[in-house]
Symmetry: C2
Subunit: 341 residues, 2 copies
Amino acid sequence: MNLKELARKLDLSPTTVSRALNGYPEVNEATRERVAAAAKRYNYKPNTRAIRLATGRAMAVGHVIPVATRHEIVNPVFADFIAGAGEVYSRNGYDMLLSIVPDDNEERVYRELKSRGTVDGVILHAPNTEDPRIPLLVELGIPFVVHGRATGTAPPYSWVDVNNRRAFLRATEFLLDLGHRRIGLLNGLEKMDFAIRRRTGYEDALASRGIPADPEIMVSEEMTEAAGYRATRAMMALPNPPTALLASSIIIGFGIRRALEDMGLAMGRDVSVIVHDDDLSYMRNGEDVPVFTATRSSVREAGRRAADMLISIITGKVLAPQEQLLEAELIIGQSTGPCKG
Amino acid sequence: MNLKELARKLDLSPTTVSRALNGYPEVNEATRERVAAAAKRYNYKPNTRAIRLATGRAMAVGHVIPVATRHEIVNPVFADFIAGAGEVYSRNGYDMLLSIVPDDNEERVYRELKSRGTVDGVILHAPNTEDPRIPLLVELGIPFVVHGRATGTAPPYSWVDVNNRRAFLRATEFLLDLGHRRIGLLNGLEKMDFAIRRRTGYEDALASRGIPADPEIMVSEEMTEAAGYRATRAMMALPNPPTALLASSIIIGFGIRRALEDMGLAMGRDVSVIVHDDDLSYMRNGEDVPVFTATRSSVREAGRRAADMLISIITGKVLAPQEQLLEAELIIGQSTGPCKG
DNA sequence: AATCGCGTTCAAACCGCTTTGAATGACCCC
DNA sequence: GGGGTCATTCAAAGCGGTTTGAACGCGATT
């Protein structure tokens, strides 16, 4: 059943039927009801492809997921982020398009999205410092929202981010307050912007207490269980090992825990651990009492916010670049305790 | 730059230009080259929306992700699956559409995908036994491939699945060979088809050695770290605790490890553990030596296979329903050892 | 010379909607 | 009664491609 057929059944022109269904004011209320009833009865759904061509809008949002050709890492927070974003899209009648792209090919993909008109806007994931994708998107004129920020990027742009610096500042201060002086940092790769912000927060907290940051107990690696294990073993083998560890993800935390266990050390008693917890739905930090003391910020919520923001940019509801900074909570779990050094 | 403009520049009709670019045989080779050169020079990309309307094909594949309204679980294997599928789609010029849908609404979404013509086919995720979605998709005439299978579903359908029964059969036999007689099962929710197949494999292995399955050491829960912890604590507190555990996911395995540690037990020495490992890119099972002994099968590869299969169904390359059963490897790690009971 | 076939190109219809601009008729006012 | 306003409806022209059916030029066939 298409519009023309429906119109014929109703003895109306396609014009009127279309307007009736789309809520235009110039149709008689009685007519509108008749049309609505018939549409329902014949289960009429307008063809998406035709709407898109006619309106020139794609009614779709793109998420370009760069897959590192070398690292082969699919970011684990990604699933939750799009779950949040997806909720918002479907509420607003938008489709969500995913492009899995080798990361050396991203520019071409954006250019094609633009010239083929497949999407109305995109979400930019995992920004690096001075990320070249941002000026590119600005140049192409594609509406976009960044999940995260990119230090050193000139043009203004819209973003949703966690206050990573403050989160790690507070976490570090909390450990300092517990008496820890040797605090190891297990960070993500520092080409990613958030990793740099987290390190800065950590360093600032140390500096404010006059403690020099020690590169020997600061690592920047992929955020995997295995990397957490390896880094922990290495740090704990130092002549002057840390008494506390601060990690950029709960997955690293699992690796830390395994390493400590293998060395016969108890987390929370012998070594304090704080992790960043993205509140992933399939990786909850314990049930009633959190396993890890953590800086927590729901990445799913970030997905919702970013999607909302993007839609209001696409629809022209807002014009200036939007910014939204989410604060992480510091939640106390079983993995921290006073320093007994 | 659109087709008409390009045609005008070339002093050709849109018809010929279109045919030249789409490889139709009736265009003069010299003309074709002239067209190709101009298309490249003016960076002409045909508008996706127009192609879709004209051809009646969506050139897109849908993935409907049911989000359990109660459990709030986004399946962690999902990110890797679509990473694999996405590779195949982009190679073939298809878009990947994601719908995040409350699971009480799935039927409506499929009907809309059909009547609005948004996609050419779908991948069905996380099938339950006698899953009603399968007959629905057959009825609607939407091409689809199931990731997994659904026992007790009447109509034939295409699927890609791991041989879950055999994987767990072999894992159980391996533990039995090590002398274990009390083997606990930490399974996923048994409304999901794969969970039932895994239990069957486990039970069959026990039965073949004349060991009765004991419901006290068999749980079926969400596959989270916390659930793994809880179940392990409960089982180990029994008067007759298991000496080995078999778990449906590596995430459960992390919970098992934490529980054992809390009880002062060493994994691999005091209690043997085998997990199923989906070979997630962000959750590798150790680096050189696997941490967990595991039944391993790459879910990313499954994504590739499913996408390939779906595309050949959509394009009519194959007509009969296709089936593909992947075998899991049994890889030996540090979490298993002889029973010392 | 008329006919045929072949290779190549084109005009126009079509896909299913939206949207512009015009038409219709009822009602009101002077 | 003529003109103006207003509410309502419609025909037709897009949107940017694909595809059908026809046309054209030219060498080969009869």
